[in-house]
């Protein structure tokens, strides 16, 4: 299976992706800016896991992390992400830039370095974690929506440029997931129920379901899939109009 790198692996969805990758037979490099938590997750996974403090927004930090690897990674998962909630009118420039740096610049820096190592190894797979916010806007999401949309387009650009080198690049867009950054939101029972009701499958998703998709896109089964975004969202992004009222007596109009 080879080596998998997971950024933002110290908590939430990233930690679950790292665990799943190890279970699937990868050796796993777990990277996170929070050294304490990432070491804990790696220790828990066991011998196949190595933890490292990496700041994806710093080119020297990313370059050094790749140089420390003992082989070219077969799979790199750009999972590190940041959200700073707030209406755009009052969002500070610092918050805007912090989110751009982690979500977009971080994905670029890690992917570029990964591709440089993968090319002489005749290929590999990169999976970016975007969000359904990259497909549809949401109030209060600040810079998050724009960065995730940018990651989806950056995925296409990288797939196009690196396809001839045998490097596939795809994106997973998680929906309402009960894990990681969203824990605080779903602690509120009323909010949780209201959100669940919007999902066609009627429930929140799990980090495991996101990890399953990541591992599929990284696997040989996805050998002909590149440049794509796959929403793991219980149908939410296809359901914008499902809650509109309509009189039961009206079945057709304009006929």
């Amino acid at each position: 299976m080879g080596l998998a790198v997971v950024t933002g692996a110290g908590s939430g969805i990233g930690a679950v992706i790292a665990r799943h990758a190890a279970k699937a037979g990868y050796r796993v490099a777990l990277w996170d800016v929070d050294e304490v938590s990432v070491r804990e997750v790696a220790a828990d996974i066991g011998e196949s896991a190595v933890a490292r403090k990496v700041d994806v927004t710093s080119e020297p930090s990313v370059v050094a992390a790749f140089e420390a690897l003992d082989e070219a990674p077969a799979l790199v998962v750009n999972n590190a992400g940041l959200v700073r909630f707030g209406p755009l009118r009052t969002l500070s420039l610092d918050d805007w830039e912090a989110v751009l740096k982690v979500n977009l610049t971080g994905t670029f820096l890690v992917s570029r370095q990964a591709a440089a190592m993968m090319e002489p190894a005749s290929g590999g797979a990169i999976v970016n974690i975007a969000s359904i916010n990259g497909i549809a806007a949401a109030p209060n999401a600040g810079a998050y929506t724009a960065t995730k949309a940018a990651v989806i387009r950056l995925t296409e650009q990288m797939a196009l440029e690196w396809g001839p080198a045998g490097i596939r690049v795809n994106t997973v867009a998680p929906g309402l997931i009960l894990a990681g950054m969203s824990d605080a939101i779903y602690a509120d029972e009323q909010v949780r129920e209201q959100r669940q009701a919007q999902v066609p499958l009627g429930r929140l998703g799990t980090a495991e379901q996101v990890a399953d998709c990541v591992l599929f896109l990284g696997s040989a089964g996805a050998a002909y899939i590149t440049g794509q975004v796959l929403a793991v969202d219980g149908g939410l992004t296809k359901s914008a109009l499902r809650n509109l009222a309509r009189p039961k007596t009206v079945d057709s109009v304009g006929l």
Binding site: D212, Y224, D233
Partner: protein, 253 residues
């Protein structure tokens, strides 16, 4: 992920092309597969190769009585129905001014109306198993291929109704997804009037350089996407493109 081993899957158009590749892959992964098709010798041949896990049921998705037989046979063969794979499809091509009305309607019947009717018929069984429906879109909805307007339109219809049906059936626990293949060599390309097998194949091979991965795909590679979607319990309304990067619009300068 739901393991597809032991699940019951109905694959229409299982006698050739992508449908046959899907059936082969699903049987390899331990599923109980029922395949259908209009040409009995074709589906019998595939089922013969795949052994007792695969049942061949001759039938045409545009015929109501056939659809009923298909669902009944699949439920009996697999002990219920977990996944319906609508792989049956046809292609009709032509210049705008020469398009034949009846052939356009027949194509819409075969590619859209039949699969939708079949899906409705399979719904009670799928609701019992919390199963899923898979349609096939096409790269034709993403890139224009002159002369392919009837086919592209039917595939656009399937991609649109994937989202609507996902939204509609979610409450019953039934998922609806779509696989969007790119250039895959199958006999549909010959049937569409692209010439002899050699000519049709050469025409598709000519597209290789337009793919990010530099080559056309295989039915088995498309089948892997079906395996994933059949087991992905929180993916619905999704369109998974399996095209080697063809729709990215690659130009190698």
């Amino acid at each position: 992920m739901r393991d597809i081993a032991g699940t019951s899957i109905l694959v229409t158009g299982g006698g050739s092309g992508i449908g046959a590749g899907v059936a082969r892959t699903l049987v390899e992964r331990g599923a109980r597969v029922t395949i259908s098709g209009r040409r009995e010798h074709k589906i019998r041949q595939v089922a013969g190769e795949l052994g007792p896990a695969c049942l061949a049921v001759p039938g045409d998705v545009t015929v109501a009585a056939d659809r009923e037989r298909l669902v009944e046979a699949a439920v009996e063969h697999g002990g219920g129905l977990d996944t319906l794979v609508n792989a049956a499809g046809n292609m009709y091509r032509g210049a705008l001014a020469e398009l034949d009305e009846q052939r356009m309607l027949d194509l819409y019947h075969a590619n859209v109306v039949g699969p939708v009717q079949l899906s409705g018929l399979a719904l009670p069984a799928l609701a019992r198993s919390k199963g899923s429906i898979i349609f096939f879109g096409s790269v034709h909805t993403q890139r224009a291929f002159p002369g392919a307007s009837p086919y592209a339109a039917t595939k656009g219809a399937l991609e649109s109704l994937t989202g609507v049906l996902a939204s509609e059936l979610g409450a019953q626990g039934v998922r609806v997804n779509c696989v969007r293949p790119g250039a895959v060599y199958t006999e549909i390309n010959e049937r569409a009037g692209l010439g002899t097998p050699e000519e049709a194949h050469a025409r598709l091979q000519g597209l290789a350089g337009a793919h990010a991965l530099g080559r056309i795909g295989t039915p088995e590679e498309v089948a892997e996407a079906v395996v994933y979607l059949a087991g992905a319990e929180w993916v619905t309304g999704g369109i998974l493109t399996v095209d080697g990067g063809l729709a990215l619009g690659v130009t190698h300068a």
